[in-house]
Symmetry: D2
Subunit: 367 residues, 4 copies
């Protein structure tokens, strides 16, 4: 049991603080003989990188990842893969004023109460900076998930949702918000500029989708695929809610509207009439796309002064200067994709261990 | 790694199928010298029991629990506690017609694709019957959580939400729905009778609350309290969404509205202005009430015929007779409470292992 | 992490005390569609059973095992297998005199210091009775290990070792000691009668051998096959030493004498000149027989009075009446076999998860 | 489950190959507010360091450790501690001739069969170089084990054992073998020079002792302290046997000779007449010194040519040049100490989680 590891068979352990010398992770359990170099990982880090657009923190971090172990001549060897990124642009002096003060909505108070000590610089271990290593590890997981496509999109900013009829995956690469609805992206740009100007911040909802997932991933009771996805996404900084498929809206449907009917495709494949289930039934993947959503609260680091307390039990006012994301949900998109990749890679190995002969497609009759 | 175990230090392993000889669980890691007899567990089972009201399955199960190990002269000994309930009212013949057919919205297909075999009687391992053992184990967890009160309520049935202003915990014991709003309970009774009459079913949203939780439970990154709660609740049968505190609604708030301000109480306690966070910041408990909600889809076992497929790859029509809950969310209330208790008991032990001197209340300055 | 579970993917959790209502275990992770009934398990329990010969405890336990879950129509389903044995012949009054006294060489004192409570009747949880469930679970593991033969033999009783040149596996079934050397068996019978008559007891060394194990089981660093075998065997009651292959004698060999030379067999198989390694190199199986030995201390429950202390801090004399094994090593033979089976089944699944294409035989060139 | 992690609550994950860019580890679960800098770790690494004496490999590695995370202003913060050592003196060309050949007694063949790929340079992941990180992590564990002293000694080289009557801990610092018997050390120097001259190598037996360990560490069945020590020591490179206390010699004792009698000391402490048990009864520490021994086989890397096979299935002759330890057991002493420290730190936290009120000394009556 480790508080800083994720996964069981495909297992990632991250380490590092926002303003330490470096951040890194160890990926253990990766199968051998998979082609892997830094070039497989770097593009995903570049997408998450701070300083990359007007709408994210202006901290400048090149986030160049190095593979320190676990590969040989460009192939994985089955031994642990150590990844490392050096921290470069730590402006720790920005944080002097929160040394003894607890920012509302942050982990400052809870770290103090739990550990009696904290590296307050940039949030230390609780900083979203740690998610860079999730993205890096997620890139390795994608290599394990041959044939699986994992994508994410921002589907709500503040209270403004996209029009799902306008969904175009191509649009997500055209704007700075991973927004699949071009009209919504234009509205959001305006909103975000206003929020930043007023020293405020906005929340968001992200949807992540995995296509090409074989059936059978997951397990009946406490190794459920959806339960592990829920933990993975809820564990991202600032996330307060997670849904699979129809999610909370399922509560308002009738049983006959919600249960996805099945029929047979021409090639023996099971075809579902709809995907209210989000690709998971009884905790096990159906072969349909896995669909999950998560809600990210508005950044708590804002320029508006807030009432709070300090280490000595005094009431104080806190205002967070630093360089922050006005909508931290934006950079959570690649992180959500990465967490989904980590869950799926882990479950692929778990499934294979117990069921080596299980089919990779939802065909009937099963062999 | 076990697919049928929950928790790390306070660890529960359940076993059993809906129509097998018995169901049971092993609770490992319980501290010694805690008073524990069957009488501590049975009341919680009685609340979840099938056949107890008009609105739940009419299967008759006394659900009498036996403690087979781990206690001596009425006290826990620190060794594994084995709990067992014999199955009594298995009408397996009800299930002959789903032997080869996959019910929409059920785990029938995914079990077949994963394992190539399934105990189809009553859903086998995927039956909600397994949750009886979670409730039993949860009762043990409550004994470990001295000073903590865990309660649950149904806050939405179908698309009908309660009026939060009318919330009265006492009301939850007065109706058959754990509904804290008496007016809503009256409406729901009507709706549920109609749904059952028409061979349909309804979804629900449940809220669970833990009061008296010490600060410091949880851990920064992958041992987050909220992530573990999310997995625990999403792992309950038929659940499709989980929220902590403000949940999805947080996405629509501004940073200044969402971040809970703090001030000092007269006795050195930290007081929060609100509890948008749901008692968790940075994955660690704040000392405020833990508040979580989860959405349960409408029962997929309905009397309305549905299109589906069978084991041989033929298209068929399925209609689920059996004895089912028209709103399975009702019986999920004690299960949600139990899962929250299990997460908290586990985290209490985990916290204590690393931080034996941490304070049990949110007071400042910390010692 | 559970203190009462063994294995990771093929995972066994045992429960129960010597004089409780029953003992049992849950086997989780067993692959589906393996033929399994009580008849596959019972023969191994019969070999370990108390009361079966003059030289073991005279407690009469039929040890009839029941499968309560995890199989359907004679096949495993991939869900947890619950096994249960009822205790029958508990003569708890035998133990009244050790209620407050700590028997030398037993866990009485350490349980008291750790837990502050103990079920003293028959040793409670620390009784060798628990090993019945290891044997039962081991029988399930053997079913997973298709093509692997696991056998054990007593190779030393007291200071009397067998003549390895006289080794005949068939002999182990002919005497009451699992002794592969008929001449030694005759001597041991005499010694054991004398030991019992004088109220004393004898230690033993057991060798367990697994043939047909595929290469590749184990992992480089902390998932080493030999390390897990060491833990499995050292974890058997009363064991004080474990060896793999040449074991402690390897320390006295030169490098050239100890390192097993290799050559090619006619069919592309690697043939080893010798098996000093005991079938494991670098923590990974070579495809040769796995050979391990473990030393069992003489039974501490003896009729000779010994100096000790009691719960109140008083010095006392202790003499253990009860019904005990004069050489507990004898009944440890089937337990050692079972533990080896559990380790191998677990590692087979672990290996398969990461290396699904690895060959099942040591042939070169590897595909 | 990770193949490269050790421990549960005090958990170490190592990574790195002999000739990669660096080696490192992550220590997770360390309690907060413990003073820790590189200066606490470096001395232990210096003792294990290659090139430090005539009798170990002449590879020159300064082994300067860096702490990259998990501390703040000289104190641990409760977050993961990342340790890193850069590799400097990799003479990889030495290994060209074993690129395709399998050295007898090494992991070369088993890696090939398991993974189908290996970093052959210097043994890659299976090199003893990895043990530097165990020593580093062990130094952190020692800081957690306040009041516990852990020491090791070489008690046998080849077939030459020390005279236990001559044991003097001070002597271990005076010779290059950690030999507590000065006369034996003189003999061993001669033997080792001869072994090296003849291109041969010698095995060894190491004893590690922990004093000041509180009672209660460990757990009844599969979380036994001695089982975990056995796994920890057997998992060190080249180890073939492990003993606790009397070890294999216990098999030849009678029950009355082996079971350690107890009496009361003047201050309420339990005093044992002897320590045949090696400080562990029923898998739980007694409060006496923990005593364990392990046998290290003679280095398999020798200058004497040996018959073997290559990747292509051809028979070849292998002779290992490189720079090797003529008796790899020597450098295993600090590694054995470190592994014992890791086991004890982990069990201390595990014990505390379940039994926060357990006494730290073996006094009766227990509170």
């Amino acid at each position: 049991m480790s508080h800083n590891s994720f996964g069981h068979l495909f297992r990632v352990t991250t380490w590092g603080e926002s303003h330490g010398a470096a951040i890194g992770c160890v990926v253990d359990g990766c199968p051998p003989r998979i082609a892997l170099t830094e070039a497989d990982i770097q593009p995903y880090l570049d997408l998450r990188r701070p300083g990359a657009s007007r709408f994210v923190t202006q901290r400048q971090e090149p986030d160049q990842v190095r593979i320190l172990s676990g590969t040989f001549e460009g192939l994985t060897t089955g031994t642990p893969i150590s990844l490392l990124i050096e921290n470069q642009d730590q402006r720790s002096k920005d944080y002097g004023e929160i040394k003894d003060r607890f920012r509302p909505g942050h982990a400052d108070l809870t770290y103090e109460l739990k550990y009696g000590i904290r590296d307050y610089r940039g949030g230390g271990r609780s900083s979203a900076r740690e998610t860079a290593m999730r993205v890096a590890a997620g890139a390795v997981a994608r290599k394990v998930l041959d044939g699986v496509t994992i994508r994410g999109a921002l589907v709500q900013m503040g209270d403004d949702r996209i029009d799902r009829a306008a969904w175009d995956w191509a649009a997500t690469a055209e704007n700075e918000f991973w927004c699949p609805d071009r009209a919504a992206a234009a509205r959001w740009e305006q909103r975000l500029l206003e929020a930043r100007k007023s020293g405020s911040s906005l929340g968001a909802v992200i949807e992540v989708v995995a296509e090409g997932v074989p059936p059978g991933l997951g397990a009946p009771i406490y190794g459920k695929l959806d339960a592990d996805i829920a933990a993975a996404l809820m564990g991202i900084n600032a996330v307060k809610g997670v849904e699979i498929g129809e999610g909370f809206a399922a509560a308002a449907l009738t049983g006959e509207a919600n249960a996805d009917e099945m029929r047979m495709g021409p090639d023996g494949r099971v075809i579902f009439g709809d995907n209210h289930a989000g690709g998971v039934l009884g905790g096990i993947s159906t072969g349909q796309p896995i669909v999950a959503r998560f809600a990210v609260k508005p950044t708590s680091s804002i320029l508006t002064p807030r009432r709070s307390v300090d280490r000595f039990g005094q009431e104080v006012e806190v205002l967070t200067r630093g360089r922050h994301d006005p909508c931290v949900g934006i950079r959570a998109v690649p992180v959500g994709e990465a967490m989904l990749a980590l869950v799926l890679a882990d479950h692929l190995l778990r499934h294979r261990a117990q069921n080596p002969d299980a089919p990779s497609e939802a065909r009937l009759p099963r062999n």
